[in-house]
Amino acid sequence: MIDDLAIGITHLLLVIAIIRLLARTDLDREPQRKAEAESPSSPPPPGAPPQADAGRNRVGVMRLPGLGRGNRRV
């Protein structure tokens, strides 16, 4: 009786654990962190379309010292 209980509890948990593992995408490959995934310096994945306007986008995030300071509320 106690044997059945001990095996039953632990193996029920093991079955649930395996079901959950099978549903996870990070079992075989570590998920990329958001910061790394969105980093502009990271190379594009193989087969990704070329970024024709990458240069223009980069200009968009540049800031000059003091730019926009006048709009800030004090």
């Binding site: 106690i2 044997d3 059945d4 209980l5 001990a6 095996i7 039953g8 509890i9 632990t10 193996h11 948990l13 093991l14 079955v15 649930i16 654990a17 395996i18 959950r20 593992l21 099978l22 996870r24 990070d26 079992l27 075989d28 490959r29 570590e30």
Partner: protein, 455 residues
């Protein structure tokens, strides 16, 4: 009934491995810890299930797993050297047949210890392996704990799934392993993602920890009590509120002592009065014999060489009589072929000084590497780093506890500790890879210099 459940569970794991071959690695861990094929009336007894699991795990990894970052660490090389050394010493063993019998399972434990870290390439895999280890051993621990609560314990009396002294089913070995697993079980409850941290996981982990602490009571193994004492001290180091921790431990001890069976307290008292205890005196005699043997045979005598020992055991029983008179009764008995009762002397006698040095280097380097990981991640606030830090603490506490138990039980080649080592190697490698991403992504097999740095 439970044998049928185990057979169905084995088939389930084999089938699920077809979807994700890593499940076969977990299958091997489960088989090696629980030994379902050895249980009475086991449906699995007719199948070499351990071999099947081993082959599936290796083939699954070799054929389907991503091997882009496969590297051998310094400690895997140490295990390989130990494997080769033990293979050679088996060929020249003093007791060739007995040595071959032990070699049959030792080589598998060592090869799997080299192999396991190669498969644990993600955090989730590491957690899954730890969870399967805890739950598989947990089945035996819960069984023993409940039977102890029901009064079924006693020295050599606790009946578990398998009534023989093999693997984890030997009282002292189970006590040591059960206590060593407590930090890992608590870590899984705190940081687990397969069973995310909540009240239920904490309650279950505390239940396993309580059952694990009952195992030394149920088996009346003195080793287990010492392991529990050491673990309490080690956990003090990582406790957030140390004064509260000390207070709770003291209260728990005060409450627990009156409920302990008399036979348990009587046996634990022999730790202090070991001169009167024949078991302790036999150990001392075997250890003295081993030192002498190693002086004559510095390269060891191969597995099971303890069979050569012939011992004279002296015990001294001191009792206080009336009128301040103390009576000392000395007894001398002769014995032979007594086991080492210590992993350190087991290594010294069987594998000589080179084997002992290799084994000690393997153990101590792991503790140092985990210390290195803790120091590097201690101040990090990244949740992933905190998780790695917690696992490093848990594995280190478990390993140190195991090494204390190993001083009194011959468990130098117990597969469980090599699984712990496998987890350690994988954790150190993963932490290094995350800290030095430039070193990852190199194809092929190369030495993991980064793991040396962590030490």
């Amino acid at each position: 009934m439970f044998n049928l459940l185990l057979a169905l569970f084995a088939l389930y794991l084999i089938a699920m491995g077809l979807r994700r071959p890593f499940i076969w690695v977990l299958f091997y861990l489960w088989v090696d810890i629980l030994a379902p094929q050895k249980m009475p009336f086991a449906q699995l007894a007719a199948i070499p299930i351990s071999l099947v699991a081993f082959v599936l795990a290796v083939v699954g990894w070799a054929m389907f797993d991503d091997k882009q970052n496969v590297r051998f660490s310094f400690r895997q090389v140490l295990i390989l050297m130990l494997l080769i050394y033990c293979g050679i010493s088996t060929q020249t063993a003093d007791f060739p047949e007995a040595a071959a019998g032990k070699w049959d399972w030792v080589w598998k434990a060592l090869v799997f210890a080299i192999f396991l870290p190669l498969t644990l390439t993600t955090r989730l895999r590491l957690e899954a392996a730890a969870l399967v280890m805890v739950l598989s051993a947990g089945a035996i621990i819960i069984d023993g704990g409940l039977k102890t609560l029901g009064g079924g314990g006693g020295y050599g009396e606790l009946k578990l799934f398998i009534n023989d002294n093999t693997g984890l089913y030997e009282g002292s070995i189970l006590s040591c392993v059960a206590v060593s697993l407590i930090p890992l079980a608590l870590w899984l409850a705190r940081e687990g993602t397969i069973f995310p941290s909540d009240k239920r996981t904490h309650l279950f982990a505390l239940g396993i920890a309580f059952a694990a602490l009952l195992i030394p009571v149920g088996t009346e193994a003195r080793t287990g009590l010492m392991c529990a004492g050491l673990l309490a001290i080690l956990m003090l180091r990582s406790a957030k509120n140390r004064m509260l921790y000390i207070g709770l431990m003291a209260v728990a001890a005060v409450i627990a002592i009156p409920f302990l069976p008399h036979s348990f307290t009587a046996r634990m008292n022999t730790i202090e009065n070991n001169k009167a205890d024949e078991s302790a005196a036999t150990r001392l005699a075997v250890w003295a014999w081993t030192q002498g043997y190693a002086a004559d045979h510095p390269f060891g005598g191969g597995f099971e060489v303890y069979r050569a020992n012939k011992l004279v055991i002296n015990t001294q029983d001191t009792s206080a009589g009336g009128g301040g008179v103390t009576t000392v009764q000395s007894t001398q008995t002769k014995d032979q072929g007594r086991a080492f009762h210590s992993s350190y002397f087991e290594m010294l006698g069987e594998q000589g000084w080179p084997g002992l040095i290799l084994w000690l280097t393997l153990q101590i380097s792991g503790i140092l590497q985990l210390e290195g990981v803790q120091r590097r991640l201690k101040k990090s606030t990244d949740p992933a780093d905190r998780k790695d830090y917690g696992m490093a603490v848990a594995l280190q506490q478990g390993h140190i506890t195991y090494l204390l138990g190993a001083a009194f039980v011959g468990i130098a080649f117990q597969p469980f500790v090599y699984m712990l080592i496998g987890l350690q190697i994988a954790l150190v490698r993963q932490v290094n890879d995350r800290r030095h991403p430039a070193q990852t992504g190199t194809p092929g097999v190369r030495m993991q210099a980064a793991s040396l740095r962590a030490g």
